[in-house]
Symmetry: C2
Subunit: 307 residues, 2 copies
């Protein structure tokens, strides 16, 4: 077997990436989901984003949510931001661990952030300073790192260049996002290794969608080259409303099943992840169809080690 | 990147494993699907099974189907059998390439074949002789090779022992079946390597279900250790009727996407696989929901090589 790390650190993104395109749910329901998520054992949670409430009404309660997080002191909470304004709001709300998204393609950057990639990268300096000034850290997430819905394949050189500049401007860590769910293992390995080579000593995480079914294979490939920071969404929350039937984020329970059964410790309890998925399902009021383990169950019965 | 082979050989199992639990469809519809499947470029097709028409009414037309296969002379067609009687029927119908299933667990063997594993293995001699006498080959598929719904984890020693005996009795090749879709990459590698060590020179293929989302990760892991015979089902045909929402066979188009985008040649054309999935969808008269690439599309637009 190719190398696998003894453990990885999952980041639960269901509360943010999972809910952002859904009809808004009450803060009370989010807190119930958070409680269930924290009970899984996960220690990194992307809790919300500080973006325009008009653009993302489902996360308009970011400040209120942030005010409740002190009840879970052992958890590293982070907030996604799209610019300096959001970063100020997050820090003011007591969430100094920021994830700042930069789109690797010019068209995606213009469509999503109304500015080109260069301008978006330049803002890392201020956002990192805000995070650091408040005792937090700044992760730069490079979106459409492999493919862009408008520009096609993203040149790897572009991603490497953004990564290098982001680190120079103060980013503490990086994450590569397969925003439209098109990448595959060989491309994951090639890009992660290129970014690592350009940014020695900087941790590179991954964020996959299972849109074309390759999400877990990409997790495996990333783990094989020692990537230990992996995003996942409980219940597979986060289907894309523009592609009915297409799946969104890889499901936390699918990742936990894959890795734990392969001998890689995640620190999460599968039964509790399934319980959290049930809470998410109740909160949304519709069946979660994109998580495989949630639909099928972990296994037919508890099984001992294979002889 | 860990090793990947330059090419693999997929076996299309949609016509057999995919249809066996469905309501019977007319022979005409099967031939239309076969035409579409052959047009994908696949050169190995599991076309039907010769089993009890009472137990599997959807494949009761095995003889009639077999009579039509000469129209595709370049394709290696095989038929699944559950015993000597079925093997005789297959050979008489002009299908000498046999796949004979042996359940690795005693309980599954008793439930599915009404005899224990030892008795089932002993029949390999006659079935292989029938295949060879008719100019064909005999593959032994070891079912529930990793886990059994009744007995829990299948001891690897049991699988290795069955494999060794099957080869001694005349099996030309082996296939390991993850019948209930519970295995994961590390277990795939361990078992394939154990069987290979016990049966040098014998080709070992794999048959995965995506029930818990790990199917494509298992394909990747198998390919990394040089497994080049992989079963897949167009459109993901083959959902389990006892687990609503659970997925069945891994979808041919998902495997083709994963491998081709990773630089591994399958010989199949993705667009034609998607066209075949559309034919399958029309034949069944309901949406195919378990194929990711079929739902999402190959990509948003044709893309050149990544820079």
């Amino acid at each position: 077997m190719p190398y696998l790390p003894p453990s990885v650190e999952l980041r639960e993104v269901g509360l943010r990436d999972g809910l952002q395109l859904e009809q808004p749910i009450p803060l009370r329901a989010k807190l119930e989901l958070l409680e269930a998520v924290v009970a899984t054992g996960v220690r990194r949670v992307e809790a919300t984003s500080f973006v325009s409430p008009k653009a993302v009404p489902a996360l308009a309660d970011a400040e209120e949510l942030a005010g409740e997080l002190e009840r879970w002191p052992g958890v590293h909470f982070s907030a996604l931001v799209a610019g300096t304004g959001g970063a100020r709001r997050a820090v003011a709300a007591g969430m100094p661990n920021l994830e700042y998204v930069v789109s690797a393609s010019e068209s995606h950057s213009l469509a999503n952030a109304r500015r080109g990639t260069d301008q978006a990268v330049a803002a890392v300096a201020d956002i990192a300073a805000l995070a650091h000034g408040a005792g937090g850290e700044c992760e730069v997430i490079i979106a459409v790192a492999w493919d862009c819905p408008f520009d096609g394949r993203t040149p790897a050189d572009r991603v490497v260049d953004i990564a290098r500049r982001a680190v120079a401007l103060g980013a503490d860590r990086l994450c590569l996002g397969d925003t439209i769910g098109t990448t595959v293992p060989a491309r994951v390995v090639a890009l992660v290794e290129a970014v690592r080579a350009a940014c020695p000593g900087i941790d590179v995480g991954v964020h996959f969608h299972n849109t074309r079914g390759s999400g877990l294979a990409c997790v495996l490939a990333a783990a094989q080259i020692g990537v230990t920071r992996i995003d996942a969404s409980v219940g597979g929350l986060g289907g894309c409303p523009f592609a009915p039937g297409a799946t969104g984020n890889i499901a936390t329970e699918d990742v936990v099943y894959l890795l734990e059964e392969s001998g890689v410790s995640t620190g999460l309890d599968l039964d509790r992840v399934l319980a959290a998925a049930a809470v998410a399902e109740r909160a949304l009021g519709r069946p979660l169809t994109t998580s495989n383990v949630y639909r099928a169950g972990g296994r037919s019965r508890p099984l001992g080690p294979q002889g």
